[in-house]
Symmetry: C2
Subunit: 340 residues, 2 copies
């Protein structure tokens, strides 16, 4: 095989606060098309753009090392094998893994790479980055295992029109809960109620007091708060929790662009004490060994028409910097996916 023209996005400098597009650079390169035993080359089909990526570009050790300057930006994605001398992978296989923000990738390890069975008809591959991927698993295990939802719970969800929140709300409805979503804008709120089956939606971009809006939408108080937004949104929700409430802290997207490397966000925790309630942080990687359980359930619900997955698909790897910022200004509607 001759060489392959690749386009990729590399990190050129670390952001302080909002990630300016100058932090990214589009690089053209040639990949040697010859492969040795154990190697394989994939063509990337879809790139997942996720809030967690904001943490990966800070120079801070977390559950994963930071992306280095001039390194290809890390990203989860779906890719098709175009050539392989790896024993596990054959040409044409669809894989999920950390292939980065680029068009092609040559690899020699199967670490954290999964083969995807996409033999089902009429299925859009992007579903494996949304309802059947990390966002779906986050929603499923965050509600069932961390929050332990049960029928008749009042479940409040922030970032409700996002990749995780919209699946979470639909799962909570299936489980017999009353579900209220917080989202930005009339379109998203209408979608939550009319399409995703939420009982009510709070438009945080309208001229409302969030505290009053929660009181009005959750007259019986909150049993479960599934929080993707954090900061003031969490602080407002805590004021309305019931006895034995469970708060699943899944993310804090409102805080990720905080200037400086260390994120702080203050909440008044006293209602947690007085209500014998629980606040629990949660990283879906802790449930990696149980993904098949979550996938099986969600596939069943999708086949029954009980769960709809909404993707926001964008095109052109050169626009990655702009697309990434959509996550933080509420510009995406559904799971944000980049087709390179």
């Amino acid at each position: 095989m001759t060489s392959i023209k690749n386009k990729k996005i590399v990190l050129t400098s670390r952001p302080n606060g909002e990630v300016k597009t100058e932090c990214w650079k589009l690089v053209h390169e040639e990949i040697n098309g010859d492969i040795d035993p154990g190697e394989f080359i994939v063509k990337i089909d879809s790139i997942s753009i996720d809030p967690a990526m904001r943490g990966w570009i800070n120079n801070v050790e977390s559950y994963i090392p930071p992306v280095q300057i001039n390194e290809t930006m890390r990203a989860l994605g779906l890719a098709v094998v175009v050539d392989s001398k790896h024993e596990k992978f054959n040409k044409g296989d669809l894989l999920s893994g950390m292939f980065g923000v680029q068009e092609y990738c040559k690899l020699n390890s199967d670490y954290a790479i999964e083969k995807i069975d996409n033999t089902a008809e009429n299925i859009n591959t992007s579903i494996f980055l949304s309802a059947l991927g990390m966002p779906g698993m986050t929603a499923y295990f965050g509600l069932t295992d961390v929050a332990r939802i049960k029928a008749n719970d009042t479940v409040l969800i922030s970032g409700a029109a996002g990749a995780v929140g919209s699946i979470a709300g639909q799962i909570a409805k299936i489980k017999g809960c009353t579900v209220i979503g917080i989202a930005g804008g009339e379109d998203k709120c209408r979608y939550l109620i009319e399409e995703a089956g939420f009982d009510d939606a709070i438009d945080y971009k309208s001229n409302i007091d969030l505290n009053e809006a929660i009181a009005k939408s959750c007259p019986k108080g909150i049993d479960v708060f599934f929080d993707n937004v954090g900061g003031p949104t969490l602080d407002a929700a805590i004021k309305h929790i019931n006895h034995k409430a469970r708060i699943t802290v899944c993310g804090a997207i409102s805080q990720y662009n905080a200037a400086g490397l260390s994120i702080h966000a203050e909440i008044d925790y006293i209602p947690i004490l007085f209500n014998s309630a629980r606040l629990e942080g949660f990283v879906v990687l802790d449930y990696y060994h149980r993904y098949s359980e979550g996938v099986k359930e969600i596939v069943k619900w999708m086949n029954e028409g009980q769960i709809k997955s909404k993707e926001d698909i964008r095109h052109g790897i050169e626009n990655f910097g702009d697309y990434f910022n959509l996550l933080f200004n509420g510009g995406n509607f559904g799971k944000l996916i980049l087709k390179p």
Copy 2:
């Protein structure tokens, strides 16, 4: 029986912040000594002085209604039956219940009153208000059930020389944990290490930075934080939690005298998210149905010499107001008990 001279403490006004002694009044009264069927009279032996009482005198509904103005102050205590026409209680029985801050009490209901078996030799009855009472149960269920301690955990305890904290530390040692206490003053810290078997103690009244002191005493980080103090102490501890840490929020005594009726205390919760950790509020009343399990374990450990209970016994009902404030200025050393 002729009339009985009773002395009791009533609430005369609601405090704003620190509870001035003017909020209390000593009242002399005569109790009619005649009893109808179903009634019984007790002489109060010991009165438990607890942080939770601060909440009961605010005009706020919580898990229990507020004490009303001119009402006898509510208090848990031990009492001996002096006369009875109640089918369950006989003269001489030792009872625990909410008998109030007074010398005598005439009752017609057995609601939340338990008969105590005090036939064991050499046992000081006050133990039923400390290690075998509410503080002991709080320590036991807070660690075993809420925090789910396991061997080799690093356990940090605030209010460590208090009624709950000192028992909690000893239970954690029995369970194979490394235990660090936070307490006020050299005497208390020496007691924790030399008498109660803690591995280390932090004197918050010495000229230290709590954040640095915790880092030094917990070089492997905190797996369990058992918090009786709250506010800035909790905020400091959270900075040092490990992956999957559990924070049992048992009280917030640093905040109970906050001016105004509603208590607020802010913490930076982000480390809970990033460590997949858990913060859980806890009221021991939720475990009332399981007390016998906790009592059985603690009696066994006491008989084996593995748990020592320390009581701070004060005398004279007329001094209740001064004794009560000891809880908030760190003036008591061990479970605070009033002999009327």
